[in-house]
């Protein structure tokens, strides 16, 4: 299973902003504030677990193609479940704090 570090959760959240859209690595990096050294290992792990699908986009002649990323159906489900469970967890914590 994917290790859910705060950085991974940020990446999942970034994908959930527009779940059906293809995203560039640099754009995800800007949205999440993660450096390439942190972001790409997360993307690699997500792709290995088939939570992320990848594609290549050819740009201008002589320039290297760009890699695109999008959540798979499983990835979307996984991200939503974790967002929901986080929200429930937060609500529970807030409730117990209010009670205490």
């Amino acid at each position: 299973m994917l290790r859910l570090s705060p950085q991974t959760l940020r990446v999942l959240d970034a994908f959930l902003e527009a779940p059906k859209e293809w995203r560039y690595g640099y754009d995800i990096s800007r949205d999440t504030g993660l450096k390439s050294g942190t972001l790409y290992p997360i993307l690699m792990r997500m792709a290995e677990r088939e939570l992320l699908e990848t594609s290549w986009e050819t740009v201008e002649e002589g320039k290297p193609p760009r890699h695109l990323y999008r959540l798979t159906t499983d990835g979307m489900q996984f991200a939503r479940e974790h967002r929901r469970s986080r929200a429930t967890g937060l609500r529970r914590t807030a409730f117990s704090e209010a009670k205490g």
Partner: protein, 172 residues
């Protein structure tokens, strides 16, 4: 392209060259983004990050690849050395054969040599080649050690053969 961006690109291409096969597409992906990064220093940090990313994800395989390359290099070096030793032995053997052939040729043209004392035989067939072997070994030792070892090996085998031959000759 600025110098900093040039360094970033060079680094990124280096990562692509060194990346293990299953990390290659990721190294290519990070290279593909480089042209779209605003700012040269940001591009350099992106490239440095890609080194970290590839190492974090494929580090174990990279180390294994390094060992494999070193093993392959060692094997090639060993094969080369064995080749040179073999060449040394072959060249030395050829020298002995030439010396013996020359001596037999001389005997053929000058038959009284057969009846004379055996020292010319020893000189031409043993001492002369052995002297050449010693000189060859000394000269080659620094430049081409494996070949020098081959020559020395041949000299020792030949000397042993000669001593055994003399001993059996005089005992007989």
């Amino acid at each position: 392209m600025s110098r900093v961006r040039g360094v970033a690109k060079w680094l990124q291409e280096g990562v692509l060259r060194c990346a293990p096969r299953h990390c290659e597409q990721w190294a290519r992906a990070m290279l593909g983004e480089l042209d779209f990064i605003d700012g040269d220093w940001a591009a350099l940090f992106w490239a440095l990050g890609s080194v970290v990313a590839v190492f974090r994800h494929c580090g174990r395989e990279l180390v294994r690849m390094g060992f494999r390359r070193r093993e392959e290099a060692d094997m090639k070096e060993t094969a080369k050395n064995v080749g040179w030793v073999f060449a040394g032995v072959v060249v030395s053997a050829l020298l002995v054969v030439c010396a013996a052939s020359l001596f037999h040729l001389a005997e053929y043209f000058y038959p009284p040599m057969k009846q004379s004392i055996p020292w010319p035989t020893w000189l031409v067939v043993f001492f002369l080649p052995e002297t050449l072997f010693v000189i060859g070994t000394v000269r080659l030792w620094r430049k081409r050690k494996p070949m020098a070892v081959g020559v020395l090996l041949a000299a020792l085998i030949f000397a042993t053969h000669f001593v055994m031959h003399i001993v059996s000759h005089f005992n007989g």
